[in-house]
Symmetry: C2
């Protein structure tokens, strides 16, 4: 086995900051749109994504790396559809097409859909607006999108109407530093990950990931023959040194698979650990990715669940960002915004900030990768639900626009800050610190609690798994459900040394979160033979 | 090469009929529902599909064949999700869960959605109903389904609320003749086909299909390494004798792949030929499938586009079916309804009868296959859009119910009958019968026109492909677009002997269909050097 080679990582004392350079501004979006004229995108229209980015803004940047050496035979064999050859003829004036097998929209049994949505303001929850989508709003000039188009067949990349908003939002938030970045819609990041695996990995391959990770990613990878090579973490997420070490010391024979090049990471509010990689950590990891020519799958459902700093139970809260500019500047820069090489496929999701049931998201990557993805989607998932796209279009584009969406994200940020503060205060109050410890999460929905299982009376007679299972059931007896940390280990063959439980503060009402934590404290004290809490109820 | 062995096919003179036996009636559905009580299915609830079928109605039937010998390693390696272990604990009374990472529905920025839908009746297009879905309709007792549930994460099999309707509808229409049939939702049949391929075929395999077939199926199969073995057709669709012949004479070495066992067919209103397999033909093909242990993928988007018999321009129309019973009895029985072995996966779609943009459909197959499918979906497509499911639930369950949906299907049937009649009458009137011939389609959206290319002045100097391309462009010059038949050949290495063009009567307004056909006639006369039509405009 080759000795691990040291990598040049930025020193731990590095305090460099990074602001996404030359971000598109909301004002500039309006100007760009005015200059490019009305968006006309009829049934199953191919989107001119380059035009949504602005034709000149990116020309000075260099092109993304090519990934031909990483794409699978499946991905490389995908060509265009032969029937689409016919589509190019459709623009001929006066042509009557008996070509495409699309049903007439006169038989769609929905004339109009309305969405009642909240209006943020002083009396937040009380005011509403009703957004209306009609069947022929495009013909009547009422809107750029209508039901006759949304409910018809579409493209794998989704409707041009909603995709334009996604491209602009991506430029506003991340402004990728290479020229030929692009976006394409997904039916959610679960599907995007599945498609990415089929584009980029062969049976027998390994994928790199955090040592505690999202089980669905592991369970999606397994059946397509992809195993997980775990990278160690600390409180700040994946460790660049460990990543480099795993790669430098990779032994194909011992591992039974070629050296991995696919890195799956949830950099912000990671599931299950709640950890968020700092800018410095991201730069370090990106440098390792460059050194080993990795391709990074950046899964970021929790990106906009970055919260206000935690000040503790007795200090005043930090005021909300004063402006959209401050808000955007407060976000830890994404891999996408650091991605000079085009080696990142970022998966964005509405699940945590709008609703999971839309089953609409998008990826951002180089044109080569986006094209591969959308051709794959054309013949599998097809386009996301037209009704979901319509709801998002009405909300994001026509009701909120970019400004209003940032307001909504700020609203969600403050709500999650409050929820996070409640669980932390309850932990301070109710948990026995002799046996359980934690760090305040700065993003996401998860609180990761470390339990000193070596202090359990049954240690060392019982294993970690046995004691963990007992504690899980002790919690249940006390009426609270927390997830076992071991459920999140991608490599079941490695014995855990530390014990964790995952609690979420996203869903339960605040008083129930407090009560659940109190019960957890009670269960721990009982299990570890500690005296009952003096403030026990 | 082994000589083709004769198979026992039903004689061509067989006139046996088949009525789906012991169909569930709409009245029985109401009784069954009343007996089983209110459907309670909260967030991401696992559906008890067996209970939707009725607990005793199928007990006398035998179980489906097992398909372990056909399932891929990918399909077989899929297990349950470890996090779902926790879900079974959620029923404990008084439990507070900090487990599942679901966002709170209080942050879904949609309080209410309405759908304005037509009410069928004397003044069809004018009357409407408005269907309303609120966020907490389940808590308030207003509905069995609400936005808090629909917009949350769901199961791969879709919501219990809509799935129950699908199971009942399937029993009403097809009543599969084995015990353990089941249904699971899809995000459309394109995705269902993609998933089925990954469940049932390995790279290098062949799939059997009609010699003219849906290009997207071929294009989806290619990248996963599956080639198409073409089966010959006549006007009545796939030929059982040809299917048997292909299989009996299969030469692994010459073909470079194992003997196929996957049969992809569009039995009704086939794309592109518009052909519909008769009951007799289906029985013959099913017998061949049994003989060779095939697994059948029955793709049926056009099933409910079965039309009234064509009586010609001068005979009176056949009156619409007088009752739902007559309507159901008029439909050619599906493979599913003949499937004594559980060797059919039927793909149902709303694309042609509601709208393609819902991206919701379902499959019906044995429990083993449905389970494989839904576990796959859990980790790829996830559940279909909750908003689409809600629209369909409101429309199919709460607004129409089974009765009203059959009314809607009858309405669509009569509309397509009219469209089909218009194109046939235009063909009679405008096309030069010396060089073009056709049969009246009895289902679907496609009219398949055979052109006698041997009569073209450039024959035999030019190839079929050259003349086909010239005719395509001649049509374009005359202002009409028809699809080339060669675009629908799955095996590009086989030279075509016949030339076809595909026209659809589904989309264009009726007068434009007439005009397009007139132009096509004009183009043909010009190309073949025939005198201009006497009734030319």
């Amino acid at each position: 086995m080759a000795p691990p080679s040291a990598i040049e990582v930025l020193p731990e004392t590095d305090t460099s900051t990074f602001t996404v350079p030359d971000r598109l501004t909301i004002q500039a979006i309006a100007k760009r749109r005015a200059a490019s004229g009305k968006l006309i995108a009829g049934v199953a229209a191919a989107a001119d994504i380059g035009s949504f980015k602005g034709r000149t803004h990116h020309l000075h940047k260099h092109l993304a790396n090519r990934w031909d050496h990483r794409l699978t035979a499946e991905a490389k064999s995908r060509g265009g559809s032969s029937l689409k050859e016919a589509a190019k003829f459709l623009k001929q004036p006066g042509l009557i097409s008996l070509g495409g097998g699309l049903p007439s929209s006169e038989y769609f049994p929905v004339e109009e859909v309305t969405f009642k949505v909240p209006v943020l303001g002083t009396d937040t929850a009380q005011r509403h607006a009703v957004l209306t989508a009609g069947k022929h709003d495009m013909a009547s000039g009422t809107s750029d999108f209508d039901l006759a188009t949304a409910l018809q067949y579409g493209q794998g990349h989704g409707s041009a109407q909603l995709l334009r908003w996604m491209v602009e939002h991506t430029e506003l938030v991340h402004n990728p530093p290479y020229r030929d970045w692009s976006c394409t819609m997904t039916v959610g990041s679960t599907s995007a990950f599945d498609i990415a695996l089929r584009m980029l990995s062969k049976p027998g391959d390994f994928m790199l990931s955090e040592e505690y990770t999202f089980p669905a990613a592991v369970e999606a990878a397994g059946p397509v023959g992809v195993r997980v090579a775990a990278v160690q973490m600390d409180e700040g997420g994946m460790l660049a040194e460990s990543l480099d070490d795993v790669l430098c010391s990779w032994d194909e024979k011992a591992r039974g698979g070629r050296k991995p090049f696919l890195l799956y990471t949830v950099p912000t509010g990671q599931n299950p650990t709640g950890s968020t990689q700092s800018l410095q950590r991201r730069k370090q990891i990106y440098a390792v990715a460059q050194k080993h020519d990795l391709y990074i799958l950046e899964d970021e459902p929790y990106y906009f669940l970055q919260m206000q700093p935690y000040t503790g139970p007795d200090a005043p809260d930090v005021p909300a960002p004063a402006s959209h500019q401050d808000f955007l500047a407060s976000l830890v820069p994404s891999y996408l915004s650091l991605d000079t090489d085009g080696r990142v496929m970022r998966m964005d999701s509405f699940s945590k900030v709008i609703a999971p049931g839309t089953r609409v998201g998008w990826i951002t990557a180089s044109e080569q990768i986006c094209k591969c993805y959308s051709i794959h989607a054309d013949l599998s998932t097809q386009s996301p639900s037209g009704l979901s796209q319509m709801m998002l279009f009405k909300l994001l584009e026509e009701h909120w626009d970019h400004d209003g969406y940032l307001d909504w994200l700020l609203h969600i940020r403050m709500e999650y800050t409050q929820r996070r503060n409640v669980i932390l205060e309850a932990c301070e109050q109710h948990l026995p610190k002799e046996v359980v410890s934690w760090r305040a999460p700065s993003a996401g929905m998860f609180h990761w609690l470390r339990v000193e299982w070596h202090k359990h009376p049954d240690y060392p007679r019982k294993t970690l798994e046995e004691i963990e299972d007992e504690l899980f059931h002790a919690n249940m007896r006390h009426g609270t459900l927390l997830m076992k940390g071991s459920w999140f280990c991608p490599d079941k063959t490695v014995a855990n040394e530390k014990m964790f439980f995952r609690a979420t503060y996203a869903a339960a009402p605040l008083d129930q979160i407090r009560e659940a934590v109190r019960r957890f404290g009670e269960a721990l004290r009982e299990a570890f033979g500690l005296p009952a809490a003096s403030n026990g109820h």
